[in-house]
């Protein structure tokens, strides 16, 4: 066994993140560590990587007891980790990012001196970018490849990837898996932390399932199937999805009438869409085809160069605030940069955007009791963990933060819900919870615009699916008539 965890325990002030965790990782295997958000899977790996120190138990690496005092220590011993949020400097080139921290002598340009060392690693991997490209010009999938290259350059034998597919498109995911198998063939050991069952089954050799800080199963992957694995992860059989009401959709709520934008990102190009009451319109598309501009146009953050957006039959002209309190709810696309403030408490995050409502302030003074009550309701409705309104938001896992964001958006009982990537980085239980909630709102007459990069999600929830390509609607499929293949073709403009 390459790595052995023996009764490792790690306590945080509010929770026990790892409770006597024991399992092994075999040399030259792809090992999956799976579980819900907050199950302790990232924590155990961060302990191995030297980011946290454990309270009791021991870790053996190549049979020898180890406790790395910092990631640097772990890297020296051949263990590397790719974090969910990439640790890259966008302005620097791929090269400079790979060398970061290993520049060596001050006097000679490291890029010149070390080129020969990296060339073979780089060329053998056949990537679609050059060492001299700046990281900001790369796609998300390519940035991840840079992170992996960084580890290879540091001669890591063990590669730990934390939720590597959370930000990738289906194609990028395929490429990543290809690459990981290739690395395994080269003798590397790979650990992926994930909550996506299909990926575990497809990629891994062995799997460790964690729940509430404990290991609940450890088995070769081929002995498990999706249903069994789901049951292990959430601790119970998966309930069936919320039933969909069969009533036909009502009046148009949102009408996007031929809008174009001139943003520096992917602009919209005469986009037309209609979302009716009691309908979920799914927007499929490769990210970077106008999704951000669509969201921002509807809430008034992005100026239109032509066309108009109508809400309940009236052209919208008001401020973002007026729109967001006048019946439109938003689950923003980018959680950390648009939806929450990690340094604020959970309760302050729970009222962001709602804070001007008469419930939460009187004459400008925030009403603490009402805010706490509202937060507690959100926490219990969406089982946010830890269940503390005063905890700092940044200490919650991404999935729990997202649950709060969804709960906050739905709290105002909106006529139109813009759900952009509503389950990004969220575990199975919470995803089901969020999906059910959206279907419930649909059944009771809300119009929902669902933007997602997960085709499964779009196909499961939508009444109609519009494919967004290059800023316009490239195809429109009614529920049940869209196949993954047809969608995929439309998404790359080949319809």
């Amino acid at each position: 066994m390459l790595i052995e965890f023996d009764k490792v325990t790690k306590r945080f002030p509010l929770t026990t993140a790892n409770d006597s965790v024991s399992f092994n990782i075999a040399l030259n295997s792809i090992h999956g560590v799976v579980g819900e958000n907050g199950a302790g899977k990232s924590t155990i790996m961060k302990i191995l990587y030297g980011m946290y120190s454990h309270d009791s138990g021991e870790i053996r690496f190549r049979g020898e007891r180890v406790q790395f005092s910092s990631p640097l220590d772990a890297i020296r011993r051949g263990i590397g980790m790719v974090h969910q949020h990439f640790m890259l400097i966008p302005r620097l080139t791929v090269w400079e990012n790979i060398l970061l921290g290993q520049e060596g002598s001050f006097w000679i340009s490291a890029t010149e001196r070390k080129t020969p060392q990296l060339k073979p690693i780089f060329e053998s991997s056949g990537l679609g970018f050059r060492l001299t490209d700046t990281v900001e010009s790369l796609s998300v999938g390519q940035r991840q490849q840079v992170e992996i290259l960084k580890l290879l350059y540091r001669e890591s034998q063990v590669l730990i990837l934390d939720e590597p597919t959370a930000v990738l498109t289906p194609q990028e995911t395929k490429d990543l898996f290809q690459r990981l198998r290739q690395l395994k063939a080269q003798g590397k050991t790979i650990v992926i932390i994930t909550h996506k069952i299909a990926e575990v089954l497809e990629l891994t050799d062995t799997v460790t399932v964690m729940r509430q800080g404990r290991v609940v199963a450890h088995a070769p992957t081929h002995t498990l199937d999706a249903e069994h694995l789901t049951e292990l992860i959430i601790g119970q059989a998966c309930p069936p999805p919320h039933p969909r009401a069969q009533e036909p959709p009502g009046q148009p709520i949102l009408e996007v009438q031929g809008i174009s934008t001139r943003s520096h990102r992917a602009p919209l190009n005469k986009l037309k869409l209609t979302v009716r009451a009691g309908e979920i319109l799914g927007i499929a598309g490769v990210s970077g085809n106008g999704q951000e501009d669509l969201v921002e146009s509807i809430i008034g953050l992005c100026p239109l160069s032509e066309g108009k957006v109508q809400f309940r039959g009236k052209t919208m002209t008001g401020s973002t605030y007026e729109r967001l309190t006048g019946g439109i709810a938003l689950i923003p696309p980018d959680r950390l940069d648009e939806a929450v403030v990690p340094t604020f408490s959970v309760e302050f995050n729970a009222i962001l955007g709602l804070h001007r409502g008469a419930r939460f302030q009187k004459c400008g003074i925030l009403q603490r009791t009402a805010i706490t009550k509202h937060t507690e309701t959100l926490i219990s409705d969406f089982s946010v963990s830890p269940p503390s309104p005063v905890a700092t938001l940044g200490t919650l896992s991404g999935g729990n933060q997202q649950k709060l964001v969804v709960g906050r958006a739905l709290a105002s009982n909106p006529a139109l819900i813009i759900a952009a990537y509503p389950t990004r980085g969220v575990d199975i239980g919470a995803t089901r919870r969020i999906h059910d909630e959206l279907v419930k709102r649909r059944n009771s007459g809300a119009a929902i615009l669902l933007i997602s990069s997960e085709l499964d999600e779009i196909m499961a929830l939508s009444d109609n699916i519009a494919v967004l390509f290059d800023g316009y609607c490239a195809a429109l499929f009614p529920r049940g008539q869209a196949t993954e293949l047809a969608l995929g073709r439309a998404m790359v403009g080949a319809a």
Partner: protein, 353 residues
């Protein structure tokens, strides 16, 4: 609060150690430091310590408020002069007001004078996209010029040899602690200039805390400071928050004029501030931008200011600029503290394993 106390004591210990070494190298006894500390906390010294602390309370709060909105207001110096000028202008224009009206009006004038200057920077930042650091620095020089012109040509005391204004009417003066306590034959602050401005400072600090953490405007201001994009997605108007933050920041700096004119000199002496506005940055930093922290660190800076004065009296080779050295070390210690602490931790952990 615990980490605040730790960071304060950590910074001070380091700074005092270096100060002691400097005094030692100048050929004086480091014990002078101890003597100065004792003198600064004794009855008369205490009055001066509190008096010097007062402007730091205002400028520290000023910088802290702008920090909460993600802005760096380096213009508190100009703003405090504009506030002081506004007090002089008001008192000169309305010499016959009863004290009950004159005092609130004077305080209001100081606040509005400073706020106008901060507001100007805020509007330039919010609507024109100018960087607030550049704007506030440059507005300082404009303020100096306006103030100098006003002192020399509008309000000058014709019989005085130095560039200063006429004294303002007595109805505008705030009582010193000495005046307030002497009827009770308490002589704690005998003949020191510590005055009710400090009480005003504490009240204002509590009000600022309430504003920042308990009102929706403070909430919006802090959200804009944390991430303007999140604020926009929550329907907040980040331009207005920016203007509000810098106006408030300016207003708080302007209140220094209350201490200087209404509390102490009763006139505007050209260049009275030894850089209260700039030191405000250090005060806010050390106080972790929290109003209570700012009061604590302002008291500390007042103490340092007074100690350096005492040391200059008591020694021949140490000048009062020593306090600047100590301040600088405190700022460095606070700024590098996370790094130093992790270094110490790692070393002790390395030793343990």
């Amino acid at each position: 609060m615990k980490s605040l106390a730790f960071s304060l004591s950590f910074a001070c210990t380091l700074a005092l150690a270096v100060a002691a070494a400097i005094i030692w190298f100048s050929g004086e006894s480091p014990l002078a430091l101890w003597e100065a500390l004792r003198a600064s906390l004794s009855s008369e010294g205490l009055g001066y310590t509190l008096f010097y602390a007062t402007p730091f309370v205002f400028t520290g709060l000023s910088v802290a408020v702008s920090f909460h909105c993600g802005l760096f207001n380096i213009g508190a110096e100009g703003q405090l002069y504009m506030g002081t000028l506004a007090v002089i202008a008001t008192a000169t224009a309305l010499p016959h007001l009863p004290p009950g009206l004159a005092i609130p009006l004077g305080i209001l004038a100081a606040g509005l004078g400073g706020a106008s200057w901060g507001c100007l920077a805020g509007m330039l930042k919010a609507w024109r996209g100018s960087h607030e650091v550049i704007v506030t620095i440059l507005l300082n020089f404009v303020a100096y010029s306006i103030v100098d012109y006003s002192i020399l040509y509008l309000y000058r005391d014709p019989v005085s040899q130095s560039p200063e204004t006429l004294k303002i009417p007595g109805t505008f003066s705030l009582n010193t602690f000495d005046e307030l306590l002497s009827p009770f034959s308490v002589s704690l602050f005998r003949s020191t200039p510590a005055n009710l401005s400090l009480v005003l400072g504490i009240i204002v600090a509590l009000a600022v805390g309430f504003f920042l953490f308990r009102t929706r405007w403070g909430f919006e201001l802090r959200t804009v400071g944390a991430n303007a994009r999140v604020a926009r997605f929550a329907g907040m108007n980040s331009a207005l928050s920016t203007i509000l933050a810098l106006s408030l920041s300016g207003g708080l700096a302007g209140l220094v004029g209350v201490n200087e004119v209404m509390g102490h000199e009763h006139r505007f002496i050209q260049g009275f501030s030894p850089g209260y506005g700039f030191t405000g940055v250090a005060v806010a930093l050390l106080g972790r931008n929290h109003p209570v922290g700012v009061i604590c660190s302002a008291l500390l800076f007042g103490l340092l200011h007074n100690m350096s004065r005492e040391i200059e009296f008591a020694t021949t080779h140490v000048s009062k600029e020593l306090s600047l050295v100590i301040q600088a070390i405190i700022v460095l210690a606070v700024a590098t503290q996370p790094f130093l602490v992790s270094l110490l931790k790692r070393r002790s952990r390395g030793r343990a394993s």
